[in-house]
Symmetry: C5
Subunit: 305 residues, 5 copies
């Protein structure tokens, strides 16, 4: 699906799910190399910037968090920027781009901001929206981390093991998506100088600054969740060790008593002592009690109980 906006100095063409037909249209209208247009259709393995003589071709990846599968996946966005046109192409909806495009179409005030200047400025607004949007995701991650912290210290260590693992994986996947795009922004800053001229440098360096903030916040979240994981593990293992120790002591206390009972259960009708005494059972019971008391006393003294 192809949509166009006519700005005073350029055209913005947004293509959702580009078809062969769209590619032909672009080839005819703008003088873009067929190999570049081909890339709009096929998925790219990694983000990059490729400067050509009359235009710049960019591949970006936008992180999307799926609430149901609890996974962060990435959606590809291809951008071609020339002097006369900016083409944004994607196979799936990319929310901040959609918002920007719709505002540019229907909202007068937004049009004044986004469309009154060169294509470089619009590229800046697209990239900026892209990164600003990551903050919302970071706030959600922060909230989950705070929840985990509260639960850890109220005795729900076991339940938190999986939640911590999920949040950690979420952070790492997010980081794996955004980290490689640093090079894109850096080379845009370098290549952009030649293509867009000096005036746009502060804009692109502002986007790079936003990226740095996102990256730092993510780094902090990563360190925090790692520390919480350690804390949770150490609380959990202290607790389970304590339980196992008590259980083992219980077993150990039972065993000598069972041994004594077994000894007087042996079939020695002629030699088993006390066997025929009328007090026999009570004497042995008293022996067992004594052994029990001595063991409990010993474990208490050793501070094992």
């Amino acid at each position: 699906m192809k949509q166009e906006i006519k700005a005073p100095k350029f055209t913005w063409i947004d293509i959702h799910n580009p078809t062969e037909h769209d590619i032909k249209y672009l080839k005819k209208k703008l003088n873009i190399h067929p190999l570049v247009l081909d890339e709009l259709i096929h998925p790219s393995p990694r983000p990059r910037v490729e400067p050509y003589k009359d235009y710049v071709f960019m591949v970006l990846f936008y992180p999307i968090y799926n609430v149901e599968t609890r996974e962060t996946s990435s959606r590809e966005l291809n951008i071609i920027v020339s002097k006369e046109a900016i083409i944004t192409s994607h196979h799936e909806t990319i929310p901040p781009l959609k918002t920007l495009f719709d505002n540019s179409r229907f909202n007068k005030q937004s049009q004044k901001i986004y469309l009154s200047e060169e294509t470089g400025q619009l590229l800046y607004y697209i990239l900026s929206a892209f990164w600003q949007n990551c903050f919302k995701k970071l706030e959600k991650i922060d909230k989950r981390i705070n929840d985990i912290e509260k639960h850890i210290f109220s005795g729900k260590e076991k339940e938190m093991v999986l939640e911590i693992s999920l949040v950690k994986t979420d952070i790492i996947n997010f980081w794996r998506i955004i980290e490689p795009q640093k090079e894109v922004l850096e080379s845009l800053l370098k290549e952009g100088l030649k293509f867009f001229g000096q005036t746009l440098i502060p804009y692109f360096s502002d986007v790079l600054g936003t990226y740095e903030r996102v990256s730092n916040t993510l780094e902090r979240a990563k360190e925090t969740i790692l520390a919480l994981e350690d804390t949770n593990q150490s609380l959990l293992s202290t607790r389970i060790n304590e339980i196992m120790k008590v259980l083992t002591i219980l077993s150990v206390v039972m065993l000598p008593l069972t041994l004594i009972a077994s000894i007087w259960g042996m079939n020695f009708p002629k030699s088993l002592p006390l066997s025929n005494s009328p007090m026999g059972f009570w004497l042995i019971s008293f022996l067992m009690l004594t052994v029990l008391v001595v063991m409990v006393f010993y474990f208490k003294k050793k501070k094992w109980l």
Copy 2:
């Protein structure tokens, strides 16, 4: 609640819990954009500096340690600085700001220091008080770390697991609050040049220096508590392993004796050896004793006991 101090060259307006009424007052008195004033009422997600034509808008977060819940939370402080006025707005009391404000109102000597120059100087004193105050908190953390260290080496490993986790979480939360404010101070240094002029640069770089010291001290505290956590875990696990080993050996020693007793407890009236011998019980008891001695000797030789 709004309070004002008239300084020779500017007005200091401190607002506790700003209301719509206060916002209107500020809008009328000072020519500040409504969107900025709006931010005074709503909480902001993160610290930042926003330079405008006639004023600078800042959002800072001040870490507060709650003794009861043993948690470090943050309180937001909004500052608007123009040539003629400095506005500080907050929803909760921020101790170092309160001290500074009260001193500026009632103490002649403090007035001479804080209020005789431009707004930039006062901003410096506010920021400086803000960061100097963190040192007190750091000293408390240091004290708790030293206490933990003493307890670990006097055999209270188990009791320290939770305390270490609490201090670690406290440090990490403190760090998550102050770390993002580095960018605020850095961009203040950059933006401040345009707005406050060259003379204030050494002041702001002094605040940045204080921040660096706080950050370094916190970093050291973090490394120390992590090392103590490791130490505690290894002492604790060595101890519990030792206990479990001894307990298991006790069980293992009981089992063959019980087996022997059970064997002579079998009902074979015609074939059980020694069953009718008058020394039967004592011979088997002697066998058990021999097995016991051999096992203890074996475990001693293997250095398991």
Copy 3:
């Protein structure tokens, strides 16, 4: 096996499994030091660049993943570059080099790109192909990491222990092969200036850029697999601890019951209480049931079950 391509300005000699005969041929045709030619035959311990007066000698290592043994090994590639000739020598087939060589021989278009300029340009294409090819391997590693992640969270922790170890070892071996080649590329950039002149600097710095991207991606993969290993270990140990706890509780519950049974199995015909009562067995069975219920209740209350 020796193969030659005549380019307008130079000759490309590719030698597979160089023999003494090949060495003599090279010595006669090109004025290269016998010691350097010797190195073509013997394996080298590490990658390096050695600039001589009329030529540059390079040793590179290409990582090859063996699907069967699941191991990453390296293959040596020796390159001698002079003004008139470029010699590539190797003992085993190096896929990206083979592709490049075959294209240069049979494909007109490739010839125009690779062979129309100086030897420096061809060296750039060889190095570039070399590093570009690593991305394919990285994508395979990425795929395996994603698979591991999915399996971890669907309860196959135990099966993933070995797979995680294999992927981690694979990443580390890959990294150990490519990491030392950074110095080669850096010194090529430095030495290359003298030998190939200013024009080739952007080319070699482009190869260095590709290397950096490979290295960064590998670093990210390493961090991810380490995090997944931690996650897997903590899920696994939580699970196994839980199982061990339940098993231990089962044992502990059995032991007092066995003790009671053993006590009433003792041979005290005259003193064993209830022994001759017609309800004896049922009373003791009821006692056992009571003990069982109390213990289960106690463990439930302690939240151990």
Copy 4:
């Protein structure tokens, strides 16, 4: 206790345990701000340099290792340097300062080195002695690390757990004392330029170099002890796991035999098989032996034994 040395160009006043009386003397003799002099009496929380118009005030901390409590604590040293005098004030004896002071008083040759120049040079010698002295401590730490290493590999893992923890804590405490003093030396280099002039810069940068060496050596010691702790833990846990496995197998082997004995201990006078056979006992004993052999064989085959 106050002691003075008259040098050609300045006076060196060393005060041990400064009293109000000493403070008054200093205030009268040298024109120093009362607030600075006050600091000589009260302990300071952290090291720092404060430049004034006519003098520089410094707070340093010297690490002292207490052999008895096995703890590293710090002692405060206050220094005031003006053109005409250098004042060193401390509450406890600081060995390297004492040596320097005594040498300057009684040793002609030392006097020529330490006292013939400006106060800046003497400050250099004090700081230098301060840091050089740390090397002795570092060598002691090194010796303890080497001892630990020897013991770990000769089977004393358990005994080393506490020793490793003590050395690690010692290193960390040492590091926490000296690390903050880096800022002192750096700001001395910066501020010193204004106060002492260009000639003293190489001296102070030499002290900073010594500090860097101490800091690097400490960093190395820290990494080494951490690696040894890991090694010790893994050797220890491998050993204890092995013991536990063998003990558990012993228990498991006993249990089926006890079960068989218990079965033939049941009171079924009419239905217990073999009970009245003259070979009954021996048949069951043979059954037990068979079970034992099968289990041992099975565990051997599984490589658990």
Copy 5:
């Protein structure tokens, strides 16, 4: 033992185990400070460079791996370089120095390389041989790491615990010996400029480059062995946990059966059910079998077996 080589422009004096006699000889022949000569006899604590007016004094440490004790120790090498002479002094044989010295004495071609220039060039060859030699050691470490990797993945985890610890300790000791010498090389580069002049700078920076390569390779080896240690530990603990789980299940399965047997072993001649029934034994045996089957089925269902 003192040996001398006369070069055209200087003398090379190599002293093995310097005596008072040798020191006197050097003092007489070359104008070197007695304190420096003293250092040749006594061991030095750490590597360093000390520039004097007419000569440079250096202390280096050479790592030697002892195959028998499997330990890496260091041997001290003292070098004094003046314009007219180079003195190398050591208490133990240092292989690369010995090779260089012997070649310089007996091999014409080596003499032309090593002895025809100034003392600075010879110093370069000594240092270079020193560091080049480290690569052989690094290759041995690499070989051991590869062996460990192979063994880990072929089921010899337990045997590898000690071997990994030994290799790790070896790497760390090697690193502790060479790391401090970086400062020596760096200060040689700085001081050397004054003493040896501009021409030798590229030589010394080449030695520093070799050092960097050694250091990087060692760093890689350290990271690899740490990763292998982790891998080994996780494989080992997964295996041992699995064994312990199976063993514990075996115990748990035995216990209820033993309890049932014990219950019917109780002495209740009048009330024990089925006791006198001719099918009693078989009914209870069938009960035991049922319990066994239910438990095995339950554990299978829970995936614990």
